[in-house]
């Protein structure tokens, strides 16, 4: 059986922007958040009016604003080395203090992409064996932040499930994920196990089941 035969067809679920907007809806006012690369970087634009989300960047920025209109300050970048601005009330700290804040649980939510999430909430998002290994702050973020929300496509480019019984990619952390937002569904982690709480518009519970190898329970609203 080839991959083409074994994988169900692609569904038109949430776009990347819609995933980001779905995540943004769940962020309470006043929350402090770290954003990984990819879909998470689309979250700030989707924050509803009147909600303040305080953004942290692991290179020592607390209170990150949007990209500058002009070239910006060369001494002011985010963790992806891109120019940024600061909001009023921002503070700069050194890298040890930045990670003291991260590891010490002083952020509320970290939102990041993933290669795989397992049914026991393990996360793999830093390394594809054979490629170039680099880890950055991912392992600190998932070890320290109380809420670890994954934003990703439900299946990979070949249509293979990314929410799996056990991660085959090297782990970033064990049992660290607390929510998963994909184009097809939203999962919460409760008592260390996945619970499907929402199907995206255009996706049914059966669609999700067919594209997920992890065991999970359902409590659809």
């Amino acid at each position: 059986m080839t991959i083409a035969e074994s994988t169900p067809p692609r569904l038109a679920g949430r776009t990347r922007e819609e995933i980001a907007a779905r995540v943004a809806r769940d962020l309470p006012d006043g929350v402090t958040v770290n954003l990984g690369v990819g879909i998470p970087l689309l979250v700030p634009q989707a924050i509803p009016e009147g909600v303040e989300v305080f953004l942290q960047s692991e290179n020592g920025v607390l209170g990150m604003g949007p990209a500058p209109d002009d070239g910006g300050d060369p001494d002011l970048t985010d963790a992806g080395k891109q120019p940024i601005t600061l909001i009023p009330g921002a503070a700069i700290v050194d890298s040890a203090t930045s990670f003291a804040i991260i590891r010490g649980g002083h952020l509320d939510v970290t939102i990041l992409g993933a290669l795989q999430v397992s049914e026991s909430a393990d996360l793999a998002n830093w390394y594809v064996p054979g490629r170039h290994p680099a880890v950055g702050g991912a392992m600190d973020l998932v070890a320290g932040t109380p809420e670890v929300w994954v934003c990703m496509e439900h299946v990979d480019r070949e249509g293979r499930p990314k929410i799996v019984d056990a991660c085959t990619f090297p782990l970033t952390g064990h049992g660290v994920v607390t929510r998963v937002y994909t184009d097809l569904a939203v999962f919460h982690v409760e008592d260390g196990a996945l619970v499907l709480v929402e199907c995206a518009p255009g996706a049914t519970a059966r669609d999700v089941r067919e594209r997920t190898t992890a065991a999970y329970s359902e409590r659809l609203r």
Binding site: D29, G30, T32, G50, E52, F54, Q56, L62, G63, L86, P88, G89, A90, A91, I92, V93, F99, A100, I101, I102, R103, G104, G105, H106, L107, A143, G144
Partner: protein, 246 residues
Amino acid sequence: MIDKYREDLAQALDIVWSGATIAIGGFGSSGRPDALLNALSDLDKRDLHLYVNNVGHDFTGVGRLVVEGRVRRVTASFPILQEFYRMYFDGRVELELIPQGTLAERMRAGGAGIPAFFTPSGAGTMLSDGSFPLAYDEGEAARHVPRKESRDFDGRPHVLEHGIRADFSLVKAQKGDRKGNLRFHRSARNFNPLAAMCGRTSFAEIEQLVDVDALDPDDIHVPGVLIDHVAMTAAPVPAAVQEGVS
């Protein structure tokens, strides 16, 4: 909207429960959060475990909590107050005595997600070998500070010390804003940033409330993410007035 400023200090602080562990900034009376400490007394909080460098000469702040019998244990490097020692030898308060640098590093570590670290300070002394009396009973040492795990690094003995994660922290700053960003003046900084780091809920009393964009981001000593509640420092109250008619 993040606004951590509290008009009513007592109301904000009333979430502290009796029995709580509390990390406190200050070195002697320098940078000591007396408004917060006095409010704990006024709110009748009891059975507290304080992490604080000194129990000072006077009966304000930490000293007042102690002499009013509200403190179960003090983890400190340099208590001074005679009355504190009398209560310690009488078995009415426990003393976990640790080196000053160990106290500062334990506060920072606990707030930084570091559960334990090795330090040479105190290795091979009665502060690490299990012989220091934690509590007295009828004039005799009844319980001791537990022996600390020891390990050699580079041929020198070190002891394992544990990060302090307190239920609450109380700090005092010179300036603060509504996002909780703080600045200290001169050596009044001391333990305050460390106390701010290690409390699950942290209170800051400030001398001056400034606009949210008044502090340069490069000049902030404690970022607001570490602070939950900001209130004004009370005007100093002379001891005579406290004990007198009012």
